[in-house]
């Protein structure tokens, strides 16, 4: 673990794997909930957790270096089910990358329990991990100028669901009617870091 100073009042804590980053994030959120950590933002990402807005970043860095941080992600309390029609325009390309038939993509994708590693790109967009090694897919060579809201997509090791229509370079395998982001709802984001997710195949137009 390495804690890098960021500006005057932030720390970027770097670890060696996505799993470690998720575990560190869960631990930091736990500490904040217990009043042991005062920070404006805790932002997990692929291999890092950013602590933005801390009073004494140097002291916190020393504390974290000494602390025994759990290596495993704690069990989640709830699982969000997201119904998906697996009829995306890139389904055949993903099947080809995986070396399976197109109908196998849904079977493989629905068998996984995903976890939101981090959010970014747009409000409510989660980077979901859980696909086994060997299931990574490249981004599309040419990004689409408009990916519809609800598109279920893959890139690298991640699965994501577009919360609203936006440009995007991920491989589209399906779509859902579930609203990922609704500012009028509490919470607005269906997915937040640490949320467990299962995709459930549904038929229909």
């Amino acid at each position: 673990m390495r804690a890098l100073p960021v500006g005057e009042d932030s720390l970027l804590v770097e670890v060696s794997s996505g799993e470690e980053a998720q575990a560190l994030h869960a631990e930091l959120v736990r500490r904040r909930a217990q009043g042991l950590l005062v920070v404006r933002e805790i932002v997990p990402a692929a291999r890092t957790v950013l602590l933005d807005g801390v009073a004494a970043p140097d002291r916190l860095a020393r504390e974290l270096a000494r602390a025994e941080l759990p290596a495993a992600v704690p069990p989640a309390t709830e699982v969000v089910d997201i119904p998906v029609r697996y009829d995306g325009p890139d389904l055949a390309d993903v099947a080809a990358h995986w070396g399976v038939g197109a109908s196998e993509v849904a079977r493989i994708h629905t068998a996984v329990e995903f976890r939101v590693a981090f959010c970014g790109f747009a409000p409510g967009f989660g980077y979901l991990t859980g696909l086994p090694p060997g299931r990574e897919v490249p981004r599309r060579a040419t990004p689409r100028t408009a990916v519809p809201a609800g598109a279920v997509a893959l890139a690298g090791p991640y699965t994501g669901v577009y919360p609203r229509s936006s440009p995007g370079g991920w491989q589209l395998i399906g779509r859902t009617d579930t609203r990922l982001w609704d500012p009028a709802r509490v919470p607005a984001a269906l997915l937040s870091p640490g949320t467990r997710v299962r995709f459930v195949a549904v038929e229909g137009a």
Partner: protein, 296 residues
């Protein structure tokens, strides 16, 4: 239904509703947003007797024109500009009473970029995640003003500040931004880090609420590619593949994959928000006041 509202007669190039933003949601991918020149927004609120969290209007270069449906107290600050009510000049940087139906015209900035219009009672559009700010990156909050739109105004507190007027900022000849290096300065050649902290850049016309873009010496990296996506802070100086530093402002993305060579001090960002395209920019490396976390 009250008549406390402003009719937008001339929206201007880009006028948005801004308050102190919506920090605390970065882990959901929600930018902080909020007024780019925070002190100017706070000042106009003070001049009209609003609490600091009241929403104001942020204009870009050419102001805006508004017609209140009932009498309001307004104050214009930030970038200095002519202000008129029904064509008659009124004070900039001071509370001004605008009668019902009169035309308040906030003119083009004499220097600087963004003027702020505070209105007694504040702009009371529906908040999203606790803020009324327009976030141009993710589209949260109210859309930018359009001609003929109508903005609700809250009930004024009744007392406004006993301030004769605010001093006009002098036109800046150059923008000096103090930066703490890191966290990814090791992605750049020592020569590039030197060029960054000693060279002169210019503010690019492509700058916006997301970032202050610059033109100048391209910063050469020691390693290619992208970082795994990591959290970004306000003031982060990200260096995209073209090598030209971008200073992240209020609507910046919450995560990013281009290396951050340094972070600009928060106190210097209001000046960045007022820097016109073409103005020289210097990044001056400073030591962290905290002394940094040290090795390990």
């Amino acid at each position: 239904m009250t008549d406390r509202a402003l009719a937008v007669v001339r929206a201007g190039a880009l006028t948005t509703v801004q308050d102190q933003g919506r920090p605390g949601h970065a882990h959901l991918g929600v930018p902080r947003s909020g007024a780019l020149d925070g002190p100017a927004a706070a000042l106009v609120n003070r001049l009209v007797g609003n609490p600091p969290e009241a929403a104001v209007l942020e204009t870009t270069l050419n102001g805006c024109a508004l017609r209140p449906r009932s009498a309001v107290t307004v104050a214009v600050g930030g970038a200095p500009c002519p202000v008129t009510v029904d064509g008659r000049p009124v004070a900039w940087g001071a509370p001004v009473r605008v009668p019902a139906g009169a035309l308040l015209d906030v003119g083009a900035a004499v220097h600087g970029v963004r003027s702020y219009v505070g209105v007694g009672g504040g702009i009371t559009v529906e908040p999203v995640l606790g803020s009324r700010s327009t976030d141009l990156l993710s589209g949260l909050g109210p859309p930018p003003l359009t001609d003929d739109s109508v903005l609700p105004v809250g009930r004024a507190a009744g007392r406004y500040a006993r301030v004769d007027g605010a001093p006009q900022p002098r036109p800046p000849t150059e923008l000096v931004l103090r930066v703490s290096l890191g966290p990814r300065d090791d992605w750049f050649t020592p020569r590039a880090v030197r060029a960054f902290t000693t060279g002169t850049y210019r503010v690019s016309a492509a700058s916006n609420r997301i970032g202050l873009r610059t033109e100048g010496p391209a910063l050469e990296r020691v390693r290619p590619g992208e970082l795994p996506s990591e959290g970004m802070v306000l003031g982060a100086v990200q260096v995209p593949p073209d090598g030209r530093p971008v200073v992240f402002l209020a609507d910046h993305p919450t995560t990013g994959g281009y290396p951050v060579i340094g972070v600009v001090r928060a106190a210097d960002l209001p000046a960045a928000a007022q820097a016109l395209p073409g103005i020289p920019v210097r990044f001056v490396a400073v030591r962290r006041r905290s002394g940094g976390p040290g090795p390990g």
